[in-house]
């Protein structure tokens, strides 16, 4: 069984960083959403791995909540991306800049 827990931490940190990199570099709103999913699932890896490490189910159950909320968040996000496309004829997040950042 013995994959030590720090390897899970390394894996999840790597996935989290890939997600952050995606958010910082991508301009397409859908790729942005995918990067956010990566970050959320990095947290799920931690939760499940340390649920096993600590020997309780709290983390596993919470990871189910995280997945459900990630789905809900994407549902709202896709809706916003849709109205973005209708207004700006593009889903490039840098194009929507009528107000300055």
């Amino acid at each position: 069984m013995a994959i030590e827990s720090q390897y899970y931490l390394l894996l999840s940190a790597a996935i989290f960083c890939i997600g952050v990199y995606g958010i910082l570099t991508r301009q397409n709103a859908l790729l942005f959403l995918m990067s956010v999913e990566l970050m959320l699932n990095a947290a799920n890896i931690n939760l499940v791995a340390f649920s096993f490490y600590h020997g309780n189910l709290t983390g596993q159950v919470f990871s189910l909540f995280t997945m459900a909320l990630a789905a809900a968040e994407v549902a709202v996000g896709i809706g916003i991306v849709l109205v973005l496309y209708r207004n700006f004829e593009d889903i490039d997040v840098t194009k929507a800049a009528t107000m300055r950042w």
Partner: protein, 509 residues
């Protein structure tokens, strides 16, 4: 399982009724909307009435519970629900009072603002849903319920900001709010997973217990705590996740800006207070030992930077709504003092001062944004110059706005003066001179840009471009009520502050 409320022995979930009332109101709104004869034919008055009554009901229930001593040491003591996943105590009731009153004001004002718009039922339903999430946030006593409740308040808010679908500004604001929100909620949940890795539980008291001995994964815990702090900073519009605030508040419909900048901020702060003071007091060095993870210093830095960034940016704005948005960032910095100036035996005082500031802020800031809603309704422009001479045509509303702005600045015309005074007292007690100095400097600076609006309204001559032909009664009523309460909190501050100070001291055991 049974608690004693004012002599009646009732089930313990009764203590959660303020949040339940809000949730039920949202359901009723959906039912009313779904049984309407034709799509979109529900009466605006009915929908606004139901939501105002629901929000007012939650506000009154929470207020009554607070008076009856529910959840407080003099009454039932803190009521734990679902094995401590939720807790009802003085602080949670106090914040439901804030959320309920802000929601009621915003719903009242929305009746006129939404007149003739489509998707009214969806609007009211989403606001009440978000308010439900905020009410649950104030009771959340586990990192799991914190996250779920926070998302319940965030997801409707994203949709609300982008509510005017054909308006580019509104959609852009919604997009930016959503992008920053999604990023910060994933940062928050990653932080939660790291805290779980180090402690093995999510329930806040159990986390504190697991961390009170020697901690194995100190580095992991430290990163986790900082990430949780950053995730909460989004909700409270504090640095570093503050940059959505000016965009979202400027682009959103003005009542939604009022709702987000007051209620949502308060809910974010109650989560910050509870998580950090229940789960991480020992690691932060509040138990008397050496801090393992010195989050108090981190919060101090955030508080000073947030105050300064918010106020200096506000001083450079051309549009009044955007100025108010940055000033709301600045106020988040003031409130953060409650988590930063803790190096004193009398910690309940400074935290209670933060809670009172949020209460007063709930009225004065909501009122200021609702005044902007009023000017939107009249079609007055958005820059400072557009407000020139407004007092000739709408003296009552302008007088109310003057009360809000001077109270926000901390002049003795509203409750904002006393709450800032208590915050200052708290920093002096703790010997936090940096915080005290930045509080004073920033308040003085804020007076400059708030008076620009007052000067435009009362002293400058109007360009004579517009003529106000209608006075929307419910919007007016909301603005005047908010102004009255802001002013009344100056003499009545002492009536409410003991419950805040008591609720705050309970958290320090």
């Amino acid at each position: 399982m049974v608690v004693d409320i004012a002599g009646y022995r009732v089930a313990d979930w009764v203590a959660m009724t303020p949040a339940l009332v809000l949730g039920l109101t949202a359901m009723v709104l959906f039912i009313v909307d779904s049984i309407e004869p034709r799509p979109g034919s529900s009466s605006n008055a009915v929908l606004a009435g139901i939501s105002t009554v629901g929000a007012l009901g939650a506000f009154l229930l929470a207020g009554t519970f607070l008076v009856l001593g529910v959840g407080q040491p003099r009454g039932t003591g803190a009521v734990d629900l679902f094995n401590g996943q939720l807790v009802v105590d003085g602080m949670s009731l106090f914040f439901v009072v804030i959320v309920g009153s802000v929601t009621a004001l915003v719903m009242l004002a929305s009746y006129d603002y939404l007149d003739g718009e489509s998707y009214q039922a969806e609007y009211y339903g989403l606001v009440i849903m978000a308010a439900t999430g905020m009410a649950v946030m104030s009771s959340a006593n586990s990192l799991a319920t914190v996250f779920v409740a926070l998302e319940l308040s965030s997801l409707p808010s994203y949709a609300l900001v982008a509510f005017v679908k054909e308006n580019r500004g509104s959609v852009e604001a919604g997009l930016k709010y959503f992008l920053v929100g999604a990023l910060s909620s994933s940062v928050l949940v990653y932080g939660i997973s790291l805290v779980y890795a180090a402690s093995g539980s999510l329930q806040l008291n159990a986390v504190a217990e697991a961390l009170s001995g020697s901690v194995e994964l100190v580095g992991v815990l430290g990163i986790g705590i900082i990430m949780v702090l950053l995730g909460v900073a989004f909700k409270t519009a504090s640095v570093p996740f503050h940059f959505w605030a000016p965009e979202a508040y400027e682009g959103a419909p003005a009542p939604v800006s009022a709702f987000l900048s007051s209620a949502s901020k308060a809910a974010g702060f109650v989560v910050a207070f509870r998580v950090f003071l229940t789960a991480f007091p020992e690691v932060g060095g509040l138990g008397g030992g050496e801090p393992v993870v010195d989050w108090v210093t981190a919060v101090t830095v955030l508080a000073v930077v947030t105050m300064t960034v918010g106020n200096f940016a506000a001083a450079n704005q051309e549009k009044v709504k955007r100025m108010l948005a940055y000033s709301s960032v600045g106020h988040a910095g003031y409130v953060l003092i409650g988590l930063a100036a803790l190096n004193t035996p009398d910690r309940g005082l400074v935290l209670g001062a933060s809670m009172m500031h949020l209460l007063v802020y709930g009225f004065m800031n909501t009122g200021a944004f609702l005044f902007i809603a009023l000017t939107d309704y009249w079609g007055v422009g958005r820059t400072f110059q557009d407000f020139n001479g407004l007092s000739e045509q709408a003296p009552l509303a302008c007088a109310a706005m003057t009360v809000f702005l001077f109270s926000l600045a901390g002049l003795p015309i509203g409750g904002g003066f006393i709450s800032k005074l208590y915050l200052l007292l708290g920093t002096v007690n703790a010997g936090a001179w940096l915080l005290a100095a930045s509080l004073i400097v920033n308040s003085a600076l804020s007076l400059f840009y708030y008076s620009r609006v007052v000067k435009a309204m009362w002293i400058e001559d109007s360009a004579g471009e517009f003529e106000i032909d209608s006075y929307p009664s419910s919007l007016y009523a909301a603005v005047v009520i908010a102004a009255f309460v802001t002013f009344a909190l100056l003499p009545a501050f002492g009536l409410l502050s003991p419950s805040a100070f008591d609720a705050a001291s309970v958290l320090f055991g």
